[in-house]
């Protein structure tokens, strides 16, 4: 367990964590699994929390998400799934077996993102602890050799080393961007040979400075916020409920499971979560474009509702697409609308067999709407009647009798009914879809030539049904209905918060430069009265502004004499540590953070 403290996941070791050297030579090589299960576990954990595996899991996640956009999914398009299974019986069955019709809840998709998050936690927690220590730490000591650093500068000044150190430290401390340490080194005799040789040097003063701790903080905040996001989404799944209700003008519904047409809830949902409010649809209005370019395109839908909250408070509100209302913590959305004509049907004996509003579902942009009426046998001995109706809001009847709607608004409503007689299956006790008529045990009503009879009814009219089956009456007013979605998800605020925190952390970590600057200065033994100054810079990741930072620090030295030479070319050649871009031949005035290129600016481009 003692190795815990020194262990760092492969690939992320940070040149900054080392002792100020230019690069950390390779992460600890992944251990060959030691004998025994503990070694095995440790090895697995190391692999899992390595950057390489995170990368592979991310790629896997991207690939695994794709099939769900190509194949129909149960959650989004159940009818499409059935159709696919019908068209591809064999392959469909296999795809189904492996969860390809519910990709995002499938075991393999879940396994990928859960592993990714385990990896993330395993990677980020040790990093966070390391960062917490760094935050309290000081900038690393000034390294002995500068030559290998990606950004260098040097100069000569008439100021004393003490003044140089003081001025540069003050410059770096300004605006609190840098954490700065000032130190002194005693005189040193020459030592070492070859590459590692260090010449003799008099006593020096040094500055060690570091900025951009926020970069790592942002990165950690970002990753941890992703974990928070995942957890809050999962909680929302467990606690949420969602219901759909169709409400016609003048009618209402109460927030109770039984009042919804469909209702769906998470595993931890309790019915007490439904606050007892009620809602009435006072009116519905729609508006469609009538110009040539966008003819009949929807422009506005508004539902005017009265709400009585659980507390007894009453209010009038409007629901629009894009503008749900919130009642007692639940959001209510306007998801659809249509016509719910009032129909009264009497049977052959003159008894009212059916009376009520029937929601017709719009099937095209002109609101040609289809509905089904199931007329039970009220008078003994009569057959049941089934009707399939088309409601045309703005009907135009052609010469051959074919009718169609030419505008979505009810300018000239017409109802076209086809009739069936026989057994509707109402008495079997099997719940039926109110929008479908099962014609298996029904016979169409036809005329003498065997043509199906179509019954046309206009609002306010009563029309005789063929074969003396009875009459049908269409109400004078055609009420509208709205399809409302009601949803309650207590995790929404958390989901939003974690997303925004993640984005903020991301931006901070990507755009905060993390830099170290060192300075060493000493009295030039050859030239009394002259002080030598050398600076070096190191950055984390790509940082085109590093050389500018070093140059600015040099410019802060008082009393500079000769223009300093650029000596960075060779250093750049060596500086391949952790993607540090070579900062070549960069003049001091090129100090912007977002320098893009290695060649001197050429502005006469246009």
């Amino acid at each position: 367990m003692s190795e815990r403290t020194t262990y760092r996941p492969e690939g992320i070791d940070d040149a900054f964590v080392g002792d100020g050297g230019t690069r950390t030579e390779g992460a600890p090589a992944p251990n060959v699994p030691a004998l025994g299960w503990r070694g095995m576990l440790r090895w697995t954990w190391r692999q899992l929390t390595s950057m390489r595996v995170a990368l592979l899991l991310l790629m896997l996640l991207a690939v695994a998400a794709v099939p769900g956009s190509i194949l129909p999914q149960r959650g989004q398009d159940p009818a499409g799934v059935l159709e696919y299974l019908g068209n591809h019986p064999t392959s469909g069955e296999w795809l189904d077996r492996f969860g390809f019709f519910a990709v995002y809840t499938s075991p393999w998709f879940s396994a990928i993102y859960l592993l990714l998050f385990v990896s993330l936690v395993g990677c980020i927690v040790p990093r966070a602890m390391q960062h917490a220590r760094n935050l309290r730490g000081r900038p690393p000591r000034t390294p002995a050799r500068f030559a290998r650093f990606p950004a260098l500068a040097e100069g000569t000044t008439t100021a004393s080393p003490d003044d140089v150190v003081e001025a540069v430290a003050a410059h770096l401390r300004r605006r609190h961007t840098f954490r700065v340490d000032v130190a002194a080194e005693p005189a040193r005799a020459a030592r070492g040979t070859g590459e590692r040789a260090l010449p003799a040097r008099p006593a020096t003063r040094t500055v060690a400075a570091e900025r951009g701790y926020l970069r790592e903080t942002g990165n950690l905040v970002f990753h941890l916020a992703l974990v928070g996001l995942l957890v809050s989404v999962a909680l929302g799944q467990l606690l949420h409920y969602r219901g759909q209700a169709i409400v016609t003008e003048g009618r209402g519904f109460a927030n109770a499971v039984t009042d919804y047409d469909t209702f769906e809830n998470g595993a931890w949902f309790r019915p007490e979560a439904l606050r007892p409010f009620s809602l009435t649809l006072d009116a519905f209005s729609s508006h469609f474009a009538s110009d040539d370019v966008a003819f009949a395109q929807a422009r506005d839908f508004t539902a005017y509702v009265s709400v009585i909250e659980a507390s007894g408070d009453e209010s009038e509100q409007t629901i629009k697409v894009n503008h749900p209302i919130t009642v007692d913590g639940a959001k209510i959305y306007l998801m659809g609308n249509g016509f719910a004509p009032d129909l009264t049907i009497t049977d052959a004996d003159g008894q009212v067999a059916f009376a009520g509003r029937v929601p017709f579902l719009p099937e095209d942009t002109m609101y040609t709407s289809r509905g089904v009426i199931k007329v039970p046998d009220v008078s003994p001995g009569l057959e049941q009647i089934g009707m399939v109706g088309y409601f045309l809001p703005s009907a135009v009847v052609a010469e051959d009798g074919a009718a169609r709607s030419v505008f979505p608004q009810p300018d000239n409503p017409l109802m076209v009914l086809e009739l069936y007689t026989g057994d509707l299956g109402l008495d079997d006790g099997v719940p039926q879809n109110v929008y479908r008529l099962d014609t298996a045990s029904l016979d169409p009503v036809t005329d003498a030539d065997g043509e199906r009879i179509k019954v046309l009814v206009r609002p306010g009219e009563t029309v005789e049904l063929p074969d003396g089956l009875g009459t049908v009456t269409l109400g004078q007013q055609v009420p509208r209905y709205v399809a409302l979605d009601l949803r309650h998800d207590p995790s929404l605020a958390w989901v939003l918060t974690f997303s925004l925190v993640a984005m903020a952390g991301l931006a901070v970590s990507l755009f905060t430069p993390r830099r170290r600057v060192w300075l060493r200065t000493w009295q030039d033994p050859q030239e009394p009265g002259r002080t030598r100054v050398e600076l070096a810079g190191l950055a984390r990741g790509d940082d085109a502004g590093l050389q500018g930072e070093v140059d600015r620090a040099l410019a802060a030295v008082p009393g500079l004499v000769a223009p300093h030479d650029e000596t960075t070319g060779d250093a750049a050649a060596d500086a391949d540590a952790e993607g540090v871009a070579p900062a070549d031949t960069t003049p001091a005035e090129r100090a912007g953070e977002h320098d893009t290129q290695d060649r001197p600016t050429n502005r006469e481009g246009h």
Partner: protein, 341 residues
């Protein structure tokens, strides 16, 4: 002549200007390559004389890799030859830059007029998306040229923009009109606007990464690229990678916002913030690919060339998300104004 008609006319005009720019940029690249070859021959001759080594002939020098071009450099892709100050810009470069500015300005005017004609923000369907996306890519490029010489990107950025505009005019075009209720939200401005900016930024970054890959392949001695001398004129792979990274970082943050904004909007419009609609799936895939790219760049053995491939894959996903997802899949994002096929 109404605003909508004038707008379309301006798009055509912009397309013409950009095509001229494309040709001029290509000529400029070729011209510079010629001079470069001559430079190189001189350089090598000098180096050869100094080191009494065997300098190549002018032809083989121009065609060969950079390695060993400058004495005293130890890295595989020396900076010095590229770091040389460019020859003063010639006529072709001047024409290229001014026509790019002109084309971009015309495009901006076309976009504004389109908004006037439709009476709303001019980015609500694929046609308008191509206009604005091309404009952003051009603007990012032009913005860069103000600070730095990135003319080597010009041929590619104007070329891509010209392709996009041609596609837009011929395939995606729809008449200017208002939008359906689901789109009537300020999120149209924010979510779609930021998505387009992100796409424009990703486009320029993609160009940089492709150049990086080509340059790397050529430096590595790829036979096929042997005669693509103009590649010697683009910066070295390391600085191309840096340029691509900085742009991709910006693009990635914008894309993150696009997704968050989209989720907020979906929560308002559709009653759920995430529903694995095809557009959502592909936006997610893009996000994950670019996240993988950022991780690749910090992973030993994956930075450099491999990371650049992530950019290529990521950008392919961006294009597919825009075209394929709109045209092939039937999702809730079917706002292209075209019918799904």
């Amino acid at each position: 002549m109404d605003a909508a008609y004038l707008s379309t006319l301006l798009v055509w005009a912009s397309l013409v200007a950009l095509t001229i720019a494309l040709v001029a940029f290509s000529i400029d690249l070729a011209r510079r390559t010629g001079e470069r070859g001559a430079d190189r021959a001189r350089e090598l001759a000098a180096a050869g004389a100094a080191a009494s080594g065997t300098a190549g002939t002018a032809t083989s020098a121009a065609g060969s890799t950079d390695a060993g071009a400058g004495p005293g450099t130890t890295q595989p892709h020396p900076v010095s030859p590229d770091g040389a100050v460019l020859p003063p810009s010639g006529r072709a470069a001047g024409i290229a830059m001014s026509t790019t500015w002109l084309g971009t300005a015309l495009l901006l005017a076309a976009i504004v007029l389109r908004g006037v004609a439709a009476g709303r923000t001019p980015w609500a369907n694929m046609y308008e998306f191509t206009l604005v996306g091309s404009f952003v890519a051009l603007a990012v490029f032009l913005g860069f040229t103000l600070r730095r010489d990135v003319r080597f990107l010009g041929a590619f950025v104007t070329g891509l923009a010209a392709i996009f505009l041609t596609l837009g005019l011929n395939v995606f075009y729809v008449a200017a009109m208002g939008v359906q209720p689901a789109l009537q939200s300020y999120w149209l401005i924010l979510h779609v606007g930021v998505a387009i900016i992100a796409t424009g930024v990703f486009t320029v970054a993609f160009v940089a990464s492709v150049l990086q890959l080509l340059r790397e392949a050529r430096d590595g001695g790829a036979q096929l690229l042997g005669t693509w001398y103009w590649l010697d004129r683009v910066p070295n792979p390391t600085s191309l990678e840096g340029l691509s990274f900085r742009l991709n970082a910006i693009g990635f943050v914008l894309w993150t916002f696009t997704i968050i904004g989209g989720a907020i909007w979906a929560e308002h419009a559709w009653g759920r913030y995430w529903g694995w609609d095809p557009k959502e799936v592909w936006s997610f895939v893009i996000w994950v690919v670019y996240a993988a790219y950022l991780h690749a760049r910090t992973t030993r053995g994956w930075s450099g060339t491999r990371a650049a491939w992530f950019v290529v894959v990521g950008y392919a996903c961006v294009l597919f998300n825009f075209t394929g997802v709109n045209l092939l899949f039937n999702g809730m994002h079917s706002y292209s104004g075209l019918t799904a096929g």
